[in-house]
């Protein structure tokens, strides 16, 4: 296995060590402005079925000098792209702005923003400080009631600007929608290159907006199914290193990799427990696979299923009390839910076709899955409640697979494969796709190569 102790992978310490956030005092709203205030707040309840996107104006953040001004423009662009991609915000075209950008340290002229149709407004300023540091100040305004919703200043290294922009986008998202955002996150996935019968597959990681892509393995061995640890800078994945297919842990800070547990046969389909102390995964058995739980500290293992069938793709409920998994114990592959200690398994999927890759939402309210082999022959990504009720299909095509939830449970990412047109594999492709859990706002996710097996990181890691 290749060790790549590359400090560039490290991210957790960037903010924690080098940045600080401070609340900004509310600016006094002038009396004449207060007199004009009134009207519907931009703050909405996003749990409503299909909220209209919030119209928001994000003029370029100002700068104390040329370099800071450029940084301000870049940050506004990242914040805008995050919010627009969510489908829950509508960006006001800067061409409609009246009187130029807002002075970042003053109360905005709300009348000028009201006429653009904006209900929310973001202002801010970047100030160059010594030693490559910058201070980023931002305020979020509720245009119609003419109030400041949020004011925060971040001090950080300049190289950290992109992450600060994502954090600001998360603050805006949370303050206006009432739930946590998912922009300060990363995606670990499998990159694929080369002809279809000799694919080179590499572990790769990128920010959720496809920036900062890095390859974590060199493609010497087949790698599959990476998953993020719930709190550490660590992933579990499957590697065929030395032709021994096993689940590995990969510490992204140190670059260290280690096989998880001692098993005679293949281990695969890993997923971390919500407390981060254990991994559940499958171990090949005589005629299928069993689900085991492995303690990361002691490496002690415990067998959770013993059906003699293929029991695969285990995933904990967010409270750690239950595990959903796929099994062909009843003939066709279906989804089951059992107690976290094993036992009490009950089938929850009953639609047409086979069900696979169940993933529990971080909110606990839904299980996402891959379904295939039913009427029409297509594959689909869907969700159902943990008791199997309320099944909805979010996306369907020739081949889609492997849902992963954003940490707020609002967005699902998966991958879609294009069908080969001929015996050379022409037309075959594999790309990442995201979709809102309502089934709206489906978008392609850019990757530098073909991609599969996405896994969404927790927020702020």
């Amino acid at each position: 296995m290749i060790h790549i102790p590359n400090p560039e992978f490290r991210r957790r310490d960037l903010i924690l060590g080098a940045a600080s956030a401070a609340a900004l005092a509310a600016l006094p709203i002038p009396v004449h402005a207060q007199a004009l205030s009134g009207g519907q707040s931009a703050v909405i309840d996003v749990s409503r079925a299909r909220a209209e996107p919030i119209p928001i104006a994000i003029p370029d953040l100002g700068g104390s000098d040329g370099a800071a001004g450029q940084l301000g423009r870049d940050m506004s662009r990242v914040i805008s792209a995050d919010l627009a991609r969510s489908g829950l915000f509508r960006l006001i075209d800067p061409a409609a702005f009246v009187g130029g950008a807002a002075a970042p340290t003053a109360v905005p002229n709300f009348g000028n923003w009201r006429v653009t149709g904006a209900q929310a407004l973001v202002t801010g300023r970047v100030e160059s400080q010594g030693g490559g540091n910058v201070r980023v100040e931002f305020r979020l305004w509720d245009v119609l009631p003419q109030t400041q919703i949020q004011g925060t200043a971040y001090t950080t290294t300049q190289g950290n600007w992109r992450r600060i922009a994502h954090i600001i986008a998360d603050v805006i998202y949370e303050r206006l929608l009432g739930e946590k955002g998912y922009f300060d996150t990363r995606i670990v996935y499998i990159s694929a290159t080369g002809p279809r019968d000799r694919r080179t597959k590499r572990l790769a990681i990128m920010d959720q907006d496809s920036e900062n892509n890095r390859f974590l393995t060199d493609g010497s061995w087949l790698v599959l199914t990476p998953r993020f640890h719930p709190s550490r800078d660590e992933i579990a994945f499957m590697s065929f290193a030395n032709n021994r297919p096993r689940v590995y842990l990969f510490n992204l800070s140190s670059g260290r990799q280690s096989v998880l547990g001692e098993f005679n046969g293949m281990t695969f389909a890993p997923r971390f427990a919500p407390d981060g102390g254990r991994v559940v995964m499958s171990v090949a058995s005589a005629n299928g696979s069993d689900i085991v739980s492995v303690d990361i500290g002691s490496r002690g293992s415990r067998q959770l299923t013993n059906s003699g069938a293929i029991d695969v793709s285990p995933c904990f409920s967010p409270d750690g009390s239950q595990i959903c998994f796929a099994s062909d114990r009843g003939g066709d592959q279906q989804i089951y839910v059992m107690d976290a200690g094993g036992g009490g398994a009950r089938r929850i999927s009953f639609g047409s076709g086979r069900y696979a890759t169940p993933v529990w939402s971080p909110r606990g309210d839904l299980i996402a899955f891959t379904r295939y082999g039913g009427e029409g022959g297509n594959f689909s990504i869907g969700v159902m409640r943990p008791d199997g009720s309320g099944e909805r299909i979010l996306s369907e095509s020739w081949q889609v697979e492997g849902p992963t939830f954003a940490p707020n449970g609002r967005v699902i990412m998966f991958w879609r494969e294009g069908r080969s047109r001929d015996a050379r594999g022409s037309g075959f492709s594999s790309r990442l796709v995201s979709v809102d859990i309502t089934g709206f706002n489906e978008r392609n996710v850019d990757t530098p190569t073909d991609a599969s097996d996405p896994a969404w990181s927790p927020l702020g890691t």
Binding site: L224, P245, M266, A269, I310
Partner: protein, 154 residues
């Protein structure tokens, strides 16, 4: 020069359009008089290196039993040869399930060989799931080729 063997070797290479790159490269030692006995090329040309399975099944079919019978006899003839049996699945399933299904197929072939007298210590198994297709199309013909267990000399 034995042209008959040559013809047979070439035909097999074409049939198994699937042949991996290494096989194609090493199998092209066509300036000698056919495959070295007991070699991978010998196995491919004169025995048959793979058996095929029905959709979502790991049951060795009648045609596969014939191939595995020949493999067992061949392995008896070359007792120093050890093999890797690799199970594969077509693309119409999920990665994780297909890893388990491919392992079932490798186990089925290897268990059959063991029942025919091949020592367990001479065989290893591995599953590539749907990640090592030999046929690159997206149709039933390609999938039928990709649902297999492939025996190779190691």
């Amino acid at each position: 020069m034995n042209t008959k063997i040559f013809g047979a070797l070439a035909a097999v290479a074409l049939l198994a359009a699937c042949a991996t790159q290494e096989q194609a490269a090493t199998g092209g030692g066509a300036t000698t008089a056919g495959p070295v006995p007991g070699s991978q090329e010998d196995l491919v040309a004169n025995v048959g290196d793979r058996v095929f399975y029905d959709f979502n099944s790991a049951t060795v079919r009648a045609d596969g039993r014939g191939t595995l019978d020949r493999q067992a006899a061949w392995l008896a003839q070359y007792p120093s040869v050890n093999v890797l049996v690799a199970g594969n699945a077509d693309e119409r399933g999920t990665t994780e399930y297909n890893l388990a299904l491919g392992q079932r197929r490798a186990n089925a072939a290897s268990n059959y060989l063991r029942a025919k007298g091949v020592a367990a210590a001479r065989m290893n198994t591995i599953s590539y799931g749907k990640d090592r297709p030999t046929a690159m199309g997206s149709n039933e013909q390609a999938w039928a080729q990709n649902r297999n267990a492939i025996t190779s000399v190691r």
